[in-house]
Amino acid sequence: MNQQLTRSQRLSRLDVKASPYLYISPFFILFFIVGLFPLVYTAWVSVHDWHLIGGQGEMVGLTNYIDVLQQPNFFKALRNTFSIFLLSSVPQVLAAIVIAYLLDTNLRAKTFWRMGVLLPYVVAPVAVSLIFAKIFADQSGLVNAVLEILGTSPIGWHADPFAAHVAIATMVNFRWTGYNALIFLAAMQAIPREIYEAAIIDGANRWRTFFSVTVPMLRPTIIFVVITSTIGGLQIFDEPRMFDTLGQGGADRQWMTLTMYIYELGWGAQKSFGRAAAVSWLLFLIIIAVGVINFLITRSISSSSSGKAGR
């Protein structure tokens, strides 16, 4: 009897100790099968002279890294990536929080509104690219036609780097704002209503409540959205590629992003798999660095405002 009890206690202790690892193991097992090999393979490729079709050549150490760091196109791609990233993520996250806040009210026909904002996420890319091509066409496009009516000069959506970045960011925001709004909404719904009640009793108005209750309580979700959109934003590929029919980022590469640069190096005219792999690793490190910075900024902002709320 006594022995049995200890055995079950021991089993229970094992349960407590092992279960957390067991629960997270599916992710790691799968990662070691389908994620780790590509990562190691890419690192291996990046230190070789490696033609996409011709295959492995001599080991060249860090030559590929040094080569791409001397290419003006690398820095152009870096600039474009950050510019499009900032133009898309910042307004996107802000708009998503506001839309989520509106959706969090006691609306009539809730399902309709919620699913309505998510619609852009399901539209096939071929339809999206066609529509935006018509909107941002330089000569026959909708926006320039409107500008003409208003009497201003048309914008060179493809010629001017900044205009191109704005147009691409618009495509990104169109697709992902509703998606992020629903993520925020799910988190807002989990905020206990008593806290709002308390704020209202304290005499806080709607916007006060929003900034002193909602935003601090959303902290983990804001961190989540900021980090995932940092990662997604710095890897942006589809939208700038679809921005014209050639898909190389413009004659001056004025909207070529880093992932497009990887593609151009590896699959384009050069077929230099080695250099493409080197840029991949550089991009990986850049994303990690920016992710960490964003994490620290977000954490300090939302904890300082939650400090105010806690008063």
Partner: protein, 436 residues
Amino acid sequence: MRAAIRNLAAVACVGALLTACSSGNGTTPDATQNGSASADPNEKVTLTVATFNEFGYEELFEEYMADNPNVTIEARKAATSNEARDNMNTRLAAGSGLADIEAIEIDWLTELMQYPDKFVDLADPELDGRWLDWKSAAVTTEDGKVIGYGTDIGPEAICYRADLFEKAGFPTDREEVADLLEGDWDTYFNVGKDFVAKSGGVAWFDSASATFQGMVNQVENPFENSDGTPIPLSENDEIKAIYDDIATAATDDNLSAGLAQWSEDWTNAFQTDKFATMLCPGWMLGVIEGNAQGVEGWDIANVFPGGGGNWGGSYLTVPEQGANHEQAKKLAAWLTAPEQQIKAFQAKGTFPSQVEALEDPALLDQTNAFFNDAPTGQILAERAKAIEVAPFKGPNYFALAQLVTDALNRLDVEGTDDAAGSWDKALEAYNALGLS
């Protein structure tokens, strides 16, 4: 490396203890086995054939399977040549997974011809003279290895808007237009200047970079010497001269509508009378007809500046990875025979590259109602025979051609630079490539 990969995969398997993984690791994929030794011609065999866009082979596959009961053909298809190219490059890079017969486009040849070992030698004395000389020369290596059988080509003519010609007081009949444009590129541009002066805002051609492509395809060594070494762009007088000609025509003389081909503005321009002529390979006829629905006046003239020119066209290859080299070669030879290629032409309009097919009444009798009932079969067959030059395209051809195309787009489409400034940027980009 393959062994290293297998070891890595095995390590991953051990770590994962996945049953599916271990069973998969034990079997060697068929693709890695070299089955060229299968001598028995009646052995049951499944052949995969990967094509893209429209090759018009669907009924031919049925016909072949009926005649060869031991052969089953499995068709794979990609929508566009870009997708097919990504797919093929991935499988070439991975070293497995290619079909028994892979269709390739002429634009991919420069990179594939560097690695002829990846393909089965298809040289066959019996097939000598089946294709136009320049078509087969492009897939033959220096030591006589043939990596592909030609399917279709894109012989170029000039398509024009007879109605806009009439308004400008130009001849409209396709033979008179051909006489008018007969000559070199200067003739084409000079007639264009005359046209633009009278047309009231209609441009002469659609795009500077498309015109550049037509011109550069008549140069023997556009960007590289025949040994494959690049000609430094700053010393490439021939290309610089072409560039200057087009730049002058496009900007100073206003001959260009300043459109990037395939863009929304370009598609739109077919409905809004933005330009009067364009370089027109056979497959472009369908594109014009589709984009210009409801517009009357398109016609095609049996002429091309500077002689003949080809744009596009494909080959069938037999990758070394495949398991059934002999059977695949036999099928590829059958599919690219003149009789079959004529059937493909009838099914999907792919213009044949076979000498004999160019004499076939089924081709020569073809007319096109949209192009004012022009005898398009006859015209394109003659344009095909007019092609003389097969430009040398070495390993860096596309990287280098891209530099000049980008330069032209900067001044023609985007309008961000003048001719000299844009050329300087191309020279900078050449140096950044680090070729020499």
